[in-house]
């Protein structure tokens, strides 16, 4: 056959140049063209995606604003060991920081920031700020404690010490309802203030549940789509895709029309005497509502990858299996189902990742009981203005998604993903 040659021997083109060099030159133009074709998207993604994500990561640990306001305090407070109340030097340094902040009318920001570390700090700073003009020089420790006796409480001073750093990762602890106690150990915050853990667990459970119910509902539809005559399957495909062409907000609102106490479903059930008028079912403003609406909205993301995989499975395979003596059920389990794994996994990862960060639907249909972690993030973004905590939670969400992709890549391989 072919003459054997050593693969490490250089191969030359007809004009005597190295073949690999020649090939690179010949392909250079094509590569340049390809690069310029993707350039706009590359720039767009860098500007609108990679850069903001970098900002997000920095924001979640950034404490430099407060650190600047406490420029004198942070020089001395870290020498304090934290056993007893700190000495005069700390109070005097804090006096300088607070009084200059009051002069510049910036003490509100200090109050907000310190309040994240320990609630009560806000009122403490505001109260002290009003009296700080009356402080005499010297003996600031006594004057602070006289202005408010909380300044004599070591916990507030410890909180101040913790806050006087330019960067810290404590928001990540807060994101999981954890905190660092005085001894530096990580502990859970008091039970009545825990909320994030519940939301994380709920989010994961809802995302998994929605993925599973999407899979159960999509599999037969995708099978029908893949095996039906083209005339009917096109119609069914339009029905599947119809939600894509409708605004998310409209779809979610229409679920509200259906699910509310005076809504269509309850009305029908009452009309049919299945449910008494006074016992109308609570179908929304709870987990059930979130679950139902999200399943419907995410359904196409499961149907399409499944369909694209099933379309490639020859119907002859099942016939072949049955001709060999396998019952239809056995043939389905051993032949058909394994061939759809790549579609199942692609659809599942897609639905899971979308579900885990879902915002509008749980906000509108879920109410307080059906809220997910993204609603909490939005709350910290818009209402409490604790952006550091919001971005820390966002980063955790991002990490979860990346973990899901990593697991997917390990089990299935990202190259096997088929999305329609």
């Amino acid at each position: 056959m072919w003459a054997a040659y050593n693969v490490s021997d250089p191969i030359y083109a007809s004009d005597g140049q190295l073949l690999s060099v020649k090939l690179k030159k010949a392909e250079a133009h094509r590569r340049r063209t390809a690069f310029f074709l993707v350039l706009p998207l590359l720039l767009f993604i860098s500007l609108t995606y990679l850069f903001p994500i970098g900002q997000l990561l920095v924001q979640s640990v950034d404490n430099r604003e407060l650190f600047r306001f406490l420029s004198h305090t942070n020089e001395v407070i870290h020498q304090w060991d934290g056993d007893q109340l700190p000495d005069e030097a700390v109070y005097s340094a804090f006096y300088k920081d607070l009084s200059s902040a009051v002069d510049n009318k910036q003490h509100g920001k200090i109050a907000t920031r310190l309040n994240y570390e320990k609630s009560g700090f806000s009122s403490l700073i505001k109260k002290t700020s009003r009296k700080i003009k009356t402080f005499a020089a010297g003996n600031y420790k006594i004057q602070f404690i006289k202005a408010d006796k909380r300044w004599g409480n070591i916990e507030y001073m410890l909180a101040l010490k913790k806050a006087a750093v330019p960067f810290h990762g404590r928001k990540y602890l807060t994101a999981f309802d954890l905190d660092q106690n005085a001894a530096g150990e990580i502990v859970q915050i008091p039970e009545n203030r825990r909320i994030n853990i519940t939301l994380w667990l709920r989010t994961i459970m809802v995302a998994l549940g929605v993925t599973l119910s999407c899979l159960i509902l999509s599999f037969p539809i995708a099978y029908m789509l893949a095996t039906m005559r083209a005339k009917y399957s096109n119609l069914l495909m339009i029905c599947v895709l119809l939600p894509f062409w409708t605004s998310l907000l409209v779809r979610t609102s229409s679920w509200m029309v259906l699910l509310q106490k005076q809504g269509l479903i309850n009305d029908t059930l009452v009309f049919l005497d299945i449910v008494l008028d006074e016992n109308r079912l609570a179908l929304m403003y709870n987990m059930l509502g979130t679950f139902i609406a999200m399943t419907q909205i995410l359904l196409p993301f499961m149907v399409l990858p499944l369909y694209s995989v099933m379309k490639t499975i020859s119907p002859n395979l099942m016939q072949a299996a049955t001709s060999m003596g396998s019952t239809p059920l056995h043939a389905f389990r051993r032949i058909y189902l394994p061939l759809t794994y790549s579609g199942i996994s692609a659809g599942s990862i897609l639905v899971f990742v979308l579900a885990i960060g879902y915002y509008i639907t749980p906000a509108l249909v879920g109410g307080a009981k059906g809220a997910l972690i993204s609603n909490r993030i939005a709350y910290h973004m818009n209402s409490s203005l604790d952006w550091a905590l919001a971005t820390a939670m966002g980063t955790v969400l991002l990490a979860t998604v990346l973990c899901a992709y990593w697991a997917y890549n390990r089990v299935v391989g990202i190259d096997n993903m088929r999305l329609g």
Binding site: Q319, A320, T322, S323, M324, G325, S326, L339
Partner: protein
């Protein structure tokens, strides 16, 4: 041979319709003997694949009954029929290795691991694929995949194997060598094979008997040489092999000799197969290799013609001539030593025996 044995497979008055408007298979009666290699041959849409699918159990007859070994099988699901099947696109399970593909029907039958591995390796050896067990189907060439498909249909020892155009996707050389291989496997195992194809060459080389399908029914059921030499109607004559045809009117019938006046005028002496009676329209059909140049004087039909085109085919030469009002009369001249020096435009004399020239419907 087959007439002596009792029917192993029997189609009795089988109809099949998909839409309730048109019959794909019409009143089909067919007996298949045990150990026979029977080919269903026909153009696409003639009902041959539907017939095969009804036998496999993937389609149900609209009317009539199919018997396997004397038992009606219409109500038996395909997985209980124990019929091996080879599909046109092979239908190998892409996620299983060659070994697992072959083991599938045996595992379903709960055979022991050792027995399975024995049977699989035996069967792989039979199709000359020893050592290919651990490959995935996608790593095999078309011909190898084809042989795996055949092996998989045979591995569980079925008494009946159905093949639906199994060689359709192979290139010409491979197809021919696979034909011989299938034939020898059939002879070795003595299994009954029902084979569907639209390729007449394939049907002629492999089959014991051929059923020529057209329009939902069998036009002729006979051995390959009988089919080729004595087609019973013009469809079979046209479908099997090449033909020159003349349309004409029967002028006289004397025993098996029919005198036909062609539409162009001259009289042809033909073999009266389905000529009807005097005055009827008929089609006279003649194989290109049964026409001779400068014939012996004893040959009944002799006509002058003009050479229109000469096409070189390697082993033979095709000559297109103008004769009896037809411009598309083809004759085949073997490429032998005593070659005729023909050129386009030559006038030559052609002749053929009345026995080779068949007056059909």
């Amino acid at each position: 041979m087959s007439q002596l044995k009792k029917a192993f497979v029997k189609f009795e008055q089988v109809d099949k319709s998909y839409d309730g408007k048109k019959l794909i298979v019409k009143g089909l009666n067919l007996d298949i003997a045990e150990g026979e290699f029977l080919t269903l041959l026909g153009p696409s849409g003639s009902g041959k694949t539907t017939t095969l699918m009804m036998l496999a159990g993937f389609e149900t007859p609209t009317n009539g009954e199919i018997y396997l070994n004397g038992k009606p099988i219409s109500s038996i699901p395909p997985y209980k029929r124990g019929i091996g099947m080879v599909f046109q696109n092979y239908a190998l399970f892409p996620h299983l290795t060659v070994f697992e593909n072959l083991a599938f029907p045996l595992k379903v039958r709960n055979l022991s691991k050792q027995l399975i591995s024995e049977r699989v390796n035996q069967t792989l050896a039979m199709v000359s694929l020893d050592g290919f067990g651990s490959r995935m189907p996608s790593q095999l060439s078309g011909g190898q995949q084809q042989r795996v498909a055949v092996a998989r249909a045979l591995v569980f020892d079925p008494k009946l194997v159905l093949m639906d155009e199994p060689l359709g996707a192979l290139d010409k050389n491979l197809r021919e060598s696979m034909q011989y291989e299938l034939k020898s496997i059939h002879e070795k195992l003595g299994v009954t094979i029902v084979y569907v194809t639209h390729d007449q060459g394939e049907a002629l080389t492999m089959s014991d008997r051929i059923a020529v399908f057209n329009d939902g029914n069998i036009q002729q059921l006979s051995s390959p040489n009988h089919l080729y030499e004595s087609p019973v109607n013009s469809f079979v004559a046209r479908f099997i092999g090449e033909n020159n045809t003349f349309k004409g009117v029967v002028k006289a019938i004397n025993g098996n000799l029919a005198t036909v006046k062609t539409d162009a005028g001259p009289i042809i002496k033909a073999n009266a197969i389905l000529a009807g009676s005097v005055g009827d329209q008929t089609t006279v059909s003649l194989r290109p290799e049964r026409v001779f140049i400068n014939p012996d004087v004893t040959i009944e039909n002799q006509f002058k013609c003009a050479v229109k085109q000469i096409i070189y085919h390697g082993d033979h030469i095709r000559v297109r001539v103008s004769i009896l009002g037809s411009d598309n009369f083809i004759l085949k001249v073997p490429n032998s030593n005593n070659q005729l020096n023909l050129t386009v435009g030559d006038k030559v004399k052609l002749g053929w025996s009345f026995m080779d020239c068949r007056a059909l419907d």
